[in-house]
Symmetry: D2
Subunit: 366 residues, 4 copies
């Protein structure tokens, strides 16, 4: 396993390059009996796909998914689910510039030295195109979690470059190109992105993801804690440089008398923990934040070296997202879903027989 | 596997509770031929052990480690290394208060509902006492990484509650109780901690860890990226709520023209990436930050519930660290070492035959 | 992971049903730089494919493989290799008889009770059609082992029903429908099979597989021994009921003075061990035998029950191999290759630095 | 992981050498709430321990087990269970003869070349002493399987060298040194073994293991089939060279009309399959056979080489079992238990919600 599988019991094994014939995955371990069709997956893929606004890459990919196995008469059978997405828009552009040079901020230099060979077309395996696979697999996880446990997973953009986006309401998230939970900032975000593009630059973003109705008990300490696996899954997304659970880095300056969430018969009194204690879900909302760095591909000249070790100056042309964070919300949701379903299965493997008289309190006081 | 193993090829499997007879682990996959004795491990354990200053728990544990296997005539044999640390100071205190109640901020509530049974003595399995095992295993990893690749792993505290600690020099780190890299702030930190204790409260901390001389090429995308596995390992440490690689959350507001580290024949011109691109080490320093929440056990009364679901008020007495972050530096170093050695082994499994003419540039311009 | 992945470092993850749109797999962990094209894989698939003689199923499947990823400009890149084989001949036969009944000797009853849903078309996931995937993945493993280490993996049929087939020469194996290493028995085997079919019955077979030139040192005791992983891989093949290494069950009545292979400076004096000692390859030929049971689908009536639990009588019509062992040789070779490459990679991960002055003796005295 | 862990969800990680300070393991994933004390484990260890008759090694090891963690107030907590067995009788014998020579049939040559270092004392890591750990871990698995599912696992010797032992009744098995299910053959077996020892030779054995009351549904095709994992586990036992499920190698010459077990409303009509179809348990008895080779350590001179590659003649003195198969029955039972519990947990992870109206028929017609 050179690292392309995720999850112990609900396992996604991914393949595919940006400009190869196809991307896809095998989802192994999905419980049988889940109603599933291609439209269920397509709906999530459409939220992530490129070319939907002027603020993202203009590559035209329908991202049409085909289910190859594991579903019979509209239901999952427990057998592995093969998913296939054919690449459509591998533009025959001139790769001459990047064949022998390493783009700053990209994986060109590291892939070259690691493997001694590199599919340079569109970033090859290191391209964010692979995240479509995560969204496809995550769609299955999301559906099962919702139907089986009522778990609801949603995300939004909370910051775009210097602009903090106040949370207003969930309903706004899917009504703008940024997954912003606030209809009043859209015009500002659009002009900001237009300015970034005019400056031939890129910018980072911050994403929040929340899972509601997660039962108490998911997570496998002391290493495979729920939050540890979430951190892994989020940091594995292209461009992510930081992950927080609950109050995250704000806890450094907090006092214990503030941070520790009090329990009451009516529910938890607060949620500084972000829904995880001792690596196990508490029944509170799971709250995760992630930082995405600015796109490395920018059309202004930068210093680098070529394969012979000589200094070169290069600007990255072609089709790129000026902020990779803009399309990251569905990906982050998918990764959270994949971690949660894996832990749901792991939990019941060991603890299916556990019975406790103690009442489970609500995640928050109503 | 209910979550007590870490690493695919250099695998640590941990066991033990805070007040049971012993803690320990099995380290499987250590390359043969490494000179190893108990003193090598003990040196690292002594850096983490409790009772060394008034700012940490007063539990007296010598943390004496015994090597049970895997070492012959002073060298590792390639067989699994059994490590054993007997618990010595399981004070027979009155646990009456916590047997039937759930301490806020602790894993009591989650363990109880997950397993239906709970070793309440000192937190049982969820106690930070288990981190001694990580430090012991990490000592082996550190030694091998240093001898085989010249990798140097060091950490320090960069913030204690509201107090930011400027980095002055590495030499100071092991000369104070806080692992602070600055001898001028020690008095301030001490009085700050005295005040926190006087207020019967606790506080968080921020830790930085750095690995130097890591070769280019470690990390297994697209999921088992080096940074993803680091995030997992760090978030699995008790009380950690956030992890950053390189510039972390600062990248949100950065521009691509600033963030992307330029390459020159003399080395990388900067290190915003924190030593990882595309999930693979670049040869730059690996830079990791982590946030630790304030200790949940504080001696002031807090609201909670008992096993019957009734409201109770409870203060946590007993021996506790007023800031769990104070002893976290050796633990974070150990976790970074464990991730790095695992990826060193994974890398060469697949890529041992790779040969590239391209020169490897220094991690930074000298 | 519900069991569809094989191998720790060279990992095959399989998907697909007998009568679904496609079967295939992801091969993760293949070392980069291996020359690979579809014809390399097709050659092995053609050895296994159905319809090539009157003694096997008449289903017409070209088993055309498409490489979806992981190969660039004719070489593997280290990225996962997606392989796809479209099903072509899903005859629209009448499944009415088996939809609600359980065929004796088949997985119908167990799949139904395990998953609560069953793709009954052609056996669905439990069909031996999945073994094409193993052969495809094994072709990659075989090629790498041969080019990197000179390992040569070959198999043959040593028994068909009551007929023992004496080994004459390797050259005969690929020149008859049975993979028999003896051109003098072919007529006998053909008339035997004709007779079995005339009796509307089926019969078992025994297959031998040999790997030459395996270096000393592969295998990871104490559990993941080379022979243990071989036993696992072989027993995972449909219809296999027994596995032997070296002298296998004959060792029960052997004396230690006979069995233990003596070492001489010119090589091992014998090979009762079958090339494995202490779970590690010795440099001798790896010798494996496997027993395949008779095909369960036979056209004579048998007693069974239906989904309501009522007694039924059923004969299995349709296209079936009268001896599943006939096409098993390429599959067994593939499985051995998959185990060997995995252990080659695991070995060098831990032991890449090992240097021993002791000479390695030949596997056999020349 | 260099191969010392077994099981995906009920994971045993073993450590220890024959003549080191201790052997032991970590059992991770045991469901909580199982009543467990050291006596439960000791009872199984005592069945395997050396020195109990003149037909086995005279090494005196009480094999006293200590539970280090994972049990609280007499019940498992779900945390990893640390087990420790101190070695007592590491006789300070003269190892001079084997330090620099490789015993035929032993792992000396392979360990030396694999690791470049070798704990030669008593075979070090390759010693069958490690099997005590398996028996200890297996005792926990056995207890849980029995209490939770009523599964009963028993084994016996069916052949000692040339002597076939007819099954008479289970009650005899634990009443003789051979685990023979027949009180009438004991005298013959004893004189046979006396003769083997007099001839300074050793001999092989065949063991049968049976698991009753295994529910239908355990096993994870297409690779992690129940029978595949059993084959792996059995072949990982020192000296095992062959494994059969059900009729095993006898199926080669069987007809399909005989082999395929018919189903009736009253139960399966026969059990040629050995309780597994399509890699999943059927509800029939799980029947497994294994072949153990003769002990490699024999006191007559044999040819070998030394570390310099020179020819030597060596006889193995010291304390050895003249037939390693004699003490293998408890080990084989333990391995079967470990595989079954792992699959019990894996099955319910994915399929806990499956409900089928179809009645489950008895494993055999009453």
């Amino acid at each position: 396993m050179s690292g392309s599988s995720l999850g112990l019991l609900f396992t996604v094994t991914s393949f595919g390059e940006s400009h190869g014939p196809a991307i896809g995955c095998v989802v192994d371990g999905c419980p049988p009996g889940l109603a599933l069709c291609e439209a269920d997956i397509q709906a999530e893929l459409d939220r992530r796909k490129p070319g939907t606004s002027r603020h993202v890459t203009q590559r035209k990919e329908p991202d049409t998914v085909e289910i190859l196995s594991g579903v019979f008469e509209g239901k999952t059978t427990g057998a592995p689910i093969g998913l296939l997405i054919r690449n459509q828009d591998q533009r025959s552009q001139d790769y001459g510039k990047i064949v022998d040079t390493f783009r700053p901020g990209h994986a060109d230099y590291t892939y070259w030295h690691k493997y001694g060979i590199r599919d340079y077309r569109g970033g090859g395996r290191s391209s964010a195109r692979e995240t479509a696979v995560r969204v496809a697999a995550g769609a299955i996880a999301k559906k099962w979690l919702k139907e089986r446990y009522g778990v609801k997973i949603r995300g939004y953009m909370s910051q775009l470059g210097e602009i903090t986006i106040a949370f207003k309401a969930w309903q706004h998230v899917d009504q703008n190109a940024f997954f912003a939970p606030n209809d009043e900032v859209i015009a500002q975000l659009e002009s900001y992105m237009d300015q970034i593009r005019a400056e031939r630059d890129s910018v980072g973003a911050k994403i929040e993801v929340v899972a509601e109705n997660v039962p108490v008990g998911w997570g496998e300490p002391v290493y495979d804690r729920l939050d540890a696996d979430i951190a892994y899954a989020m940091m594995s997304i292209n461009a992510v440089k930081g992950v927080e659970i609950g109050d995250g880095f704000d806890t450094v300056a907090q006092r214990g008398s503030v941070h520790g969430d009090e329990l009451t018969p009516a529910g938890f009194a607060s949620n500084h923990a972000g829904g995880v204690l001792g690596g196990i879900s508490t029944g509170q909302d799971i709250r995760v934040s992630l930082a995405l760095k600015p796109t490395s591909s920018i059309p202004q000249p930068r210093n680098s070296i070529d394969k012979a070790g000589h200094a070169v100056e290069m600007a990255t042309t072609g089709r790129h997202d000026p902020c990779v964070g803009i399309r990251a919300t569905p990906i982050a949701e998918a990764m959270l879903a994949l971690v949660l379903i894996d832990h749901a299965l792991r939990h019941r493997a060991q603890n299916a027989d556990v019975q406790v008289d103690t009442p489970r309190i609500p995640g928050r006081i109503a």
